[in-house]
């Protein structure tokens, strides 16, 4: 109980009252504690109001009212209507001491009814009773009004709980935490595919079953079995025969399995090969040496594929020939030029599509010296051997034996056959070809059924006057070429260096003899276009170009190395190529340079490899060159080497040949005139 009720009239209640309180406390302490005894004299604070005794005894009345002491007693508000300040007389005296918002809802209010409905729904799923109860609690909470954050929080919970319990009602998801997004993937349109299989084949069968039928059948079966037993006692040889037959059947079937795959395997092999050597194939087809423009007249040879066969390693390439019908196929004859080391030989067919392995391989007993592929029937290949035989291979047939082969009885040569050449079918419409050999005979062979029938065209031993000297001269023929247009006209080159112009009709005499070379004539070739021009090469280091009407050569080229082979280009009358024993290929174009080659290139890597043969591909700008190690190298001719006269639009091929002929003629006429002008 407060002792001091000294209420001051005007004094500021703050500090004084505090001081009064202090005083009281001090006194109270005194009263309560009893330990410290201060005097009971009144202590006056120093700033207490000094009042007289009379004033001190004055009575002041106080009344307790229900008025709120904090409420303002005079509220003035501005009234816009009267445009003046007005005093509010009645002032609200209510003071709120404590406020608490409850969560009870009246049962009959809208809210209450709604909640009851929810309760019922929540109670229905039996498995989620606890969930439902939780729901009730949760649902009661949103009844609070006013506090947004809480509302949000609580609505979250009912949402998540509802989703967990799987309530069917639609939750009004708030826009802050949930938003709907939808997208549609691109679906491929459906397509109908239907298929009908063939039903398995059916057949009809009928019979009758009865006791006597069964009996008869059994009796027959018994008889059969008895017969079988007798057969079993028969000699066992039959079984062996059967077994061997079975074996062959098995092997055949095994082969059949492989042969079934053979075609596919072959195509696959070619594909793999093409992939492996893709850059070569691209070069072959598309590469044109751009540096030719800067090189003036000269050209180059780009090495492409290299054809090698393991089993032919010791042999040299003795003959090359392109197949006219399939311009990617060519034949290579393998043998040996060495007189001392004569062994076996081989005839091998390669395709440009597969340089890794030959298409066909025909091993032979004796070295192959020459070969020729028939122009029309490109499956027929005539081959001449070192032992003097000739043979014809048919590529269409299986097996590695020739279809025709000449023997001693059928007039084979006694010396190596140096050249074979197919002819047009003779009057009896038989295929025939000619061969020349060192024994001095030029023989024509005709294919008659299973045999080769020979006819001597030239028997060199009989030709000419029979003087010993001349007989000595009349010796081996080493090369042969038939005229392209004139069927009966052909040239024979000899081992002494002479070239004889002969006719099939005159078997004992030559039409003409040219003193060509000082050594054996290795190759003679007629020009593809000009009917009078032919070329010859020899190991006396020279190449000579002739007009067959004139006894002396038109052009002579000295290469300083023995020349192995020479060939005209099929696309130009003035271009030819030659190979030499020092491993170089020389390409000449008389139109451009009459005295020197326009290309001289070494094509073999190893030294001491001699190049033996060369052939132009009839269609592609490609050369193949054979060497004495059994390799064949293919080379692409650069544009400078392939110059053709500019064809006018719409010029037919015959016109082109005329152009070619004219080109050559022009060159020759330049040479001929001075000769004609010479006094005879």
């Amino acid at each position: 109980m407060r002792k001091a009720s000294t209420v001051q009239k005007v004094a500021p209640p703050g500090p004084k009252s505090n001081k009064n309180k202090k005083k009281d406390e001090e006194e109270a302490v005194d009263a309560g504690g009893g330990r410290v005894s201060y005097g009971k004299a009144l202590i006056k604070p120093p700033d207490q109001l000094e009042l007289t005794e009379a004033e001190l005894k004055e009575e002041i009345t106080r009344t307790l009212t229900a008025n709120n002491p904090h409420a303002p007693q005079n509220i003035v508000h501005y009234s816009f209507k009267e445009r003046s300040f007005k005093v509010t007389s009645a002032v609200d005296q209510l003071a709120v001491l404590f406020e608490m918002e409850g969560n009870l809802v009246h049962i009959d209010s809208d809210e209450g009814r709604r909640l009851r409905a929810k309760e019922i729904l929540a109670n229905e799923p039996a498995t989620v009773n606890t969930g439902a109860e939780a729901d009730e609690e949760e649902l009661a909470l949103p009844e609070e009004g006013g506090r947004e954050v809480d509302e949000v929080g609580e609505e979250d919970r009912p949402d998540s709980v509802a989703s967990k319990t799987g309530m069917k009602e639609q939750k009004a998801t708030n826009q802050f935490n949930f938003c709907e997004r939808a997208s549609q993937t691109l679906n491929n349109p459906p397509r109908e595919i239907s298929c009908q299989t063939e039903p398995p084949p059916r057949s009809v069968f009928g019979a009758t079953v009865s006791q006597w039928e069964i009996y008869d059948a059994y009796v027959m079966e018994l008889q059969k079995q008895e017969k079988n037993k007798e057969k079993q006692k028969a000699p066992t040889l039959r079984k062996d025969v059967d077994k061997s037959r079975n074996k062959t059947m098995l092997t055949e079937t095994a082969n059949d399995d492989i042969t079934k795959v053979r075609k596919g395997a072959k195509i696959l092999e070619r594909m793999v090969h093409q992939n492996t050597f893709d850059d070569i194939a691209q070069d072959f087809k598309y590469f044109e040496d751009g540096s030719d423009e800067f090189r003036g007249q000269e050209g180059t040879l780009l090495p492409l594929w290299k054809f090698q066969y393991d089993k032919a390693k010791g042999l040299s390439v003795t003959a090359l020939c392109w197949n006219k019908k399939y311009p990617d196929l060519f034949a290579v004859g393998m043998g040996s030029y060495d007189f001392n080391y004569q062994g076996r030989g081989m005839l091998v067919f390669y395709s440009l599509k597969n340089s890794a392995f030959p298409e066909r391989i025909y091993p032979t007993d004796s070295g192959v010296m020459c070969l020729d592929i028939h122009e029309q029937h490109s499956y027929l290949t005539a081959v001449g051997f070192y032992d003097g035989c000739v043979a014809v291979y048919n590529l269409k047939r299986e097996g590695s034996e020739p279809v025709y082969k000449s023997t001693v009885k059928t007039g084979k040569h006694t010396d190596p056959v140096w050249q074979v050449c197919w002819q047009n079918n003779d009057m009896d419409d038989r295929h025939n070809f000619c061969s020349v050999s060192s024994d001095g005979r030029v023989v024509s062979w005709a294919l008659v059924k299973n045999e080769l029938v020979f006819t001597d065209i030239i028997r060199r031993s009989l030709a000419g006057p029979e003087s010993a000297q001349q007989r000595g001269i009349l010796a081996c023929g080493t090369s042969l070429d038939f005229h392209k247009q004139i069927d009966y006209l052909f040239l024979v080159g000899t081992g002494e260096g002479k070239i004889h112009k002969c006719s099939k009709t005159y078997s004992s005499k030559y039409l003409e003899t040219y003193d060509a070379h000082s050594r054996a004539v290795d190759a003679i070739k007629w020009n593809h276009f000009h009917p009078k021009v032919f070329i010859s090469c020899s190991s006396d280091w020279t190449i000579k170009i002739w007009d067959h009407t004139i006894n002396t050569p038109m052009f002579t080229f000295d290469l300083k190395v023995p020349v192995g082979d020479v060939a005209w280009a099929p696309y130009s009358s003035t271009i030819f190529a030659a190979v030499t024993t020092d491993g170089k290929v020389h390409v000449f174009d008389l139109n451009i340079n009459k005295y020197e080659e326009i290309c001289k290139q070494a094509v073999v890597v190893k030294k001491k490899t001699e190049l033996t043969h060369i052939e132009f591909n009839p269609i592609y700008p490609l050369l193949i060159v054979g060497d004495d190690r059994g390799n064949v190298i293919s080379l692409k001719l650069s544009p400078n080497l392939r110059k053709k006269p500019k064809a006018k639009r719409g010029q037919d091929p015959p016109q082109r040949t005329e152009v070619e002929v004219a080109k050559m003629e022009k060159l020759l006429s330049l040479l001929r005139e001075p000769e004609e002008s010479l006094p005879a």
Partner: protein, 101 residues
């Protein structure tokens, strides 16, 4: 009539005789063995034997096999090629098995 004769021969008569079949060899052998097993097992009940054969054939060789077992009947059936067996068993029973779906 016929069984006593067979008995005297001492079982020389083959118990199984394929009268007509166009099945491949292994299939035929298997099917015949199956038929023999079934008929021996259900010697008195043709229906159960047929049922057993039919169900085994369906499992082994594909669906829709038909089996007829009996001593006296005539038949005319359409069957898939290489799927017919018509054989006799035990001197008096005929079994016809064919596939047709």
């Amino acid at each position: 009539e016929t069984p006593p004769v067979d008995g005297r021969r001492g079982g020389a008569l083959p118990s199984v005789c394929p009268q007509h079949t166009d099945m491949p060899e292994e299939m035929r052998v298997e099917t015949m063995e199956l038929c023999v097993t079934a008929c021996e097992k259900f010697a008195t009940n043709n229906e159960s034997a047929a049922k057993m054969i039919k169900e085994s054939m369906d499992k082994k060789f594909g669906s829709s096999w038909h089996v007829v077992i009996g001593e006296g009947f005539g038949f005319e059936v359409t069957h898939e090629v290489k799927n017919l067996l018509y054989m006799f068993f035990g001197g008096s029973l005929a079994v016809c098995v064919w596939k047709c779906s």
